[in-house]
């Protein structure tokens, strides 16, 4: 079994690395792609990230080709077709890696160890190896040859969006990092900046972070609020509505599209705006439910963060990898059989506002999940900027996948680490919330509050509004969304 790199570091360095995350101004990119001009960039893997990043880099004037395993070429698999139809040169590792100045590893995490072990001996002296996720370095302790520069460039959006925004003349927020142990010529940052520029990321905002901060915050966000909370919430809310006699088609639709609708409000104006979309009595109700949920779930969030920090999470997951994903695939199949998953969304119309009014509990779950994830991450030494991006910022993106084809689709398309984390979270969280759910009625999920008038107590409303607005995730959120709005006028 591999050695956990993070655990090998002294506490002083661990804390310093976790605390790295700085928003870079567009004026810090005066040299554009110059550092990569004329260099050979070879991409490993041609999935959505690989293909779309490559298209952007080539359109920015860089020399991009693709390397695939011999079998993928011989069998003309989808990855081979994607690269070839888009007019890229495709070759085997042996053909292309020795010519590469930069090797872009854009394969799934699970393949990193075997891929990197295969390409490393072929790489030329002094070349650069780039990742878009740091799991292999941080959790699996991959030792990369001393002469090689190791960087990370991670667009914080799905591959299709990385391309679509570039074509519009914009980009997506992108995280970059340099692996300090592998920066022999001190050129890591220059290369990472040029790469981010080539994908258009500089226009939307580049975050300068570290491999460690990226891994520890990304894992935490994806397994708790992003996937875990939405999965657990979907199943519990659906079952409750059926129990309360809400029409099954309606219940299915309210959940499938409800997450997307309410988190759209989150994207624009944070947790505050999401709750401001409710009537005053409903807002206070959602606030109270969220407080209760936070009390119940805090220990679970802490456990997830602790397991991520100690490496316990990754070793458990790698054991399942080694066991042919037995646990994960079994759970994925179980998810497909849940009542929510099997009930198609009804064809009734649900207005945008109705998703809020009848989904108070869902809003409370998003609020509780976002705030808990943020609080837990920052308490563990991750700085607020990272914690914001890995919790609140990405929630609408995942909600989007549920709107598309429910949970099975979400789990099948998110990264392997996210899905395994989601599995662990859901297993623990469903029983944890069992008692809480007993007290829930359809007024907070499915039918909306039945009140005669919308009157509330002044003092209580002021208290709730103040608590909402003063949460630290709202403060950093306002600042970061401000950066974005400066550049992206159309949002």
């Amino acid at each position: 079994m591999s050695n956990n790199y993070f655990n090998s570091l002294p506490l002083r360095v661990q804390l310093a690395e976790l605390g790295k995350c700085r928003f870079m101004h567009i004026s810090e990119f005066p040299d554009g792609v110059a550092a990569l001009k004329g260099k050979k960039m070879v991409v490993i893997g041609c999935g959505a990230q690989g293909l779309n990043q490559g298209l952007n880099l080539r359109d920015s004037g860089l020399d991009v080709s693709y390397t695939l395993r011999q079998a993928a070429i011989d069998e003309q698999r989808q990855s081979w077709k994607s690269a070839t139809e888009n007019g890229f040169t495709v070759g085997t590792y042996e053909e292309l890696i020795p010519t590469a100045d930069v090797v872009l590893n854009l394969t799934p995490d699970k393949q990193h160890t075997s891929v990197v072990n295969a390409v490393m001996p072929l790489m030329k002296n002094g070349a650069c190896l780039s990742y878009s996720h740091g799991f292999n370095i941080v959790e699996e302790g991959m030792k990369v040859r001393d002469d090689l520069t190791v960087i990370m460039v991670a667009p914080k959006c799905p591959g299709s969006e990385v391309r679509a925004e570039y074509v519009r003349g914009f980009g997506v927020p992108t995280l970059i990092a340099v692996h300090e142990d592998n920066d022999p010529n001190g050129e890591g940052l220059t290369l990472a900046k040029a790469y981010a520029f080539g994908t258009g990321g500089h226009k939307a905002g580049v975050l300068m972070s570290s491999f460690i901060a990226e891994v520890k915050s990304d894992l935490m966000g994806e397994q708790t609020i992003l996937c875990g909370m939405l999965q657990t919430g979907s199943l519990l809310c659906y079952d409750k509505m059926i129990e309360e006699g809400v029409d099954a088609g309606y219940a299915s639709k309210l959940i499938q599209f409800g997450w997307e609708t309410v988190t759209e409000a989150l994207k624009y104006g944070g947790v505050t705006n999401m709750l401001d979309r409710l009537s005053n009595p409903a807002k206070i109700k959602a606030f109270d439910l969220a407080e209760e949920l936070k009390g119940i779930m805090r220990s679970l969030y802490n456990k997830h963060q602790d397991d991520i920090m100690t490496g316990n999470f990754s070793s458990t997951m790698m054991a399942d990898w080694a066991n042919d994903d037995k646990e994960l695939l079994g759970w994925r199949a179980d998810t497909a059989e849940t009542p929510f998953e099997k009930m198609p969304a009804g064809d009734m119309e649900i207005s945008e506002q109705e998703y809020f009014d009848n989904g108070i509990l869902m809003i409370a779950m998003v609020k509780a999940g976002v705030e808990l994830a943020f609080e837990t991450m920052t308490a563990a030494g991750i700085i607020p900027d990272s914690a914001y991006y890995e919790s609140l910022h990405e929630t609408p993106l995942i909600a989007n996948t549920i709107a598309r084809k429910k949970l099975y689709e979400m789990n099948a398309t998110i990264s392997d680490t996210a899905e395994y984390g989601c599995y662990l979270f859901n297993h623990a969280c469903v029983p944890l919330l069992a008692d809480f759910m007993k007290g829930i009625k359809s007024d907070v999920i499915g039918r909306g509050l039945s009140v005669d008038d919308n009157g509330v107590d002044n003092a209580r409303l002021i208290e709730v509004n103040a608590a909402l607005r003063s949460h630290p995730v709202e403060e950093i959120g306002a600042t970061l969304r401000g950066h974005m709005a400066d550049m992206k006028k159309i949002v």
Binding site: D59, Q78, G87, P158, G169, L397, N400
Partner: protein, 470 residues
């Protein structure tokens, strides 16, 4: 049963209203709705399919099954398909829904669908992803879907637009065969396309139904035609922005040289060994049936087609594939197409849409200058939209959006202007405005024009080079 609208006022979600509509459609009648862009033609036809929120008055006897073909319906389906792709997280390439599913899922009358697929010769498309179709191809698919739904009423909003000559004449022959079975209401921008079986014409302006004319009332019919031919105002193209420099090109060199270019998808060859050279100050008309590769050919020039890197292409002095960036190419090109209009799904202001032409972006992400704002306002005045600079683009009517995108393309006075079916979906008056604008651009020497269209009658003075694809 007679469909009856009595003093009917209805609101649409963009705040647009149709007011006090009194209208009766009796069995056996067939109507054309006409009017200027933004008047409410599409809205009135959509009301028959149940669209809009009733404010007052009544609408009675709407048939249960209504088949609708419109740009809006097409755009909606395409947006839904694009959204599926947008939502795709991390590492899966979505192929999109195949045409077969689009047509046959929930199809009331598969025999009709099969018959139409044969008539349209669309067999070859059935397994392709709907969103990968060309504009004209996807239009035919929507049409088949509506015709095969066993409708009691057919609403055909600009149904002839975007079809090649062969398909158009097939459809013109097919629709009359339906006339004694199904009531038809068509929105048409061209008087010369009104079919024989149409019995009545309705004229809409500012959300009101102003005139209802029987087809055989020749005098009123002619007047209505006149009304649509309002004289356009004198055109003065706004000046260039002195601060937005497009590098000088060598006037001795061609703007574009394509040498033996090919486009292939797997085993399918779309274009094969084509040569094309566009000299500075030449104007070209490009034609060809739906799916013949017109748009793909143009996107090799603009750099939007990935196979531009595996072909021998020289544009504006750059041999493609030698480290130039796509923005270095795009700065020389102004571009308008239906696809661009579908891409331009942003809630930005009219002024910013025009200014985005200086930056070749969809949406505006850069700080603009006062001079640029001033030029944008001049363009808006030219288009008859003075004082509307701050209105949101996505609330404009379809035709007004097109006019604005043409202004966006021309705002930097590019050496090459590509107009991919610029008149698609425009009414007579705006079509004349656009054609007059294009003629003006052709007459000046600074911009070369590539003009793509299906309609021989939309020819433009000054264009004397032709390329026809098969």
């Amino acid at each position: 049963m007679t469909i009856r609208l009595d003093d009917f006022t209805v609101q649409f979600d963009q705040g647009f209203q149709l007011s006090h509509i009194n209208w009766q459609i009796e069995p056996g009648q067939h109507w054309v709705i006409t009017g200027t862009n933004g008047a409410g033609k599409s809205a009135l036809s959509a009301v028959l399919a149940g669209a809009g929120d009733r404010l007052s008055g009544s609408i009675d006897n709407l048939p249960e099954r209504v088949g609708v073909v419109s740009f809006e319906a097409q755009a909606e389906l395409i947006a839904a398909e694009l959204k599926k792709d947008d939502a795709d997280i991390l590492d899966v390439i979505s192929e999109g829904t195949p045409v077969r599913e689009i047509i046959f899922d929930d199809c009331a009358n598969p025999e009709t669908a099969c018959d139409l697929i044969a008539r349209f010769e669309l067999d070859y498309l059935l397994d392709r992803a709907f969103r990968k179709l060309s504009t004209g191809e996807s239009r035919k698919v929507i049409l088949i879907r509506a015709l095969a739904s066993n409708p009691d009423l057919l609403v055909l909003d600009e149904v002839f637009e975007g079809l090649d000559a062969a398909t158009l004449s097939m459809l013109e022959q097919y629709l009359p065969t339906l006339a004694n079975r199904v009531t038809m209401v068509m929105v048409l921008n061209r008087f010369d396309q009104i079919p024989e079986f149409i019995s009545h014409v309705a004229y809409v302006e500012h959300g009101e139904l102003l005139h209802q004319v029987r087809r055989n009332d020749e005098k009123s019919y002619a007047e209505l035609y006149q009304l649509l031919h309002l004289k356009t105002t004198h055109l003065d193209v706004p000046p260039i922005d002195p601060d937005t420099e497009i590098p000088q090109l060598d006037s001795q060199q061609p703007l574009v040289r394509l040498n033996g270019i090919s486009i292939k998808y797997g085993d399918f060859t779309l274009l094969d060994k084509l040569d094309w050279c566009i000299e500075a100050n030449q104007h070209w008309q490009l034609s060809g049936p739906n799916g013949s590769g017109k748009t793909a050919l143009l996107s090799l020039i603009t750099g939007d087609h990935p196979q531009c890197y595996v072909n021998d292409i020289v544009v504006f002095g750059y041999q493609r594939g030698n480290g130039e960036s796509i923005w270095q190419i795009k700065q020389f090109i102004g571009y308008v197409s239906t696809a661009l209009q579908w891409e331009y799904r942003v809630g930005t202001s009219l002024r910013n849409v025009i200014i985005s032409g200086f930056y070749d972006s969809i949406g505006l992400y850069s700080k603009c200058t006062d001079k640029q704002r001033q030029i944008a306002d001049q363009w808006l005045a030219l288009l008859g939209m003075r004082g509307r600079s701050d209105q949101p683009f996505n609330k404009l009517s379809y035709g007004d959006q097109r006019l604005l995108l043409i202004a966006r393309a021309m705002v930097k006075h590019p050496p090459l202007l590509i107009l991919d079916e610029p008149c698609l979906g425009l009414d007579d008056m705006n079509r004349q405005l656009v054609l007059a604008l294009i003629e003006k651009i052709c007459a000046g020497s600074e911009t070369s024009v590539i003009y793509v269209n299906h309609h021989p009658e939309d020819c433009i003075k000054g264009i004397d080079n032709y390329l026809a694809l098969k």
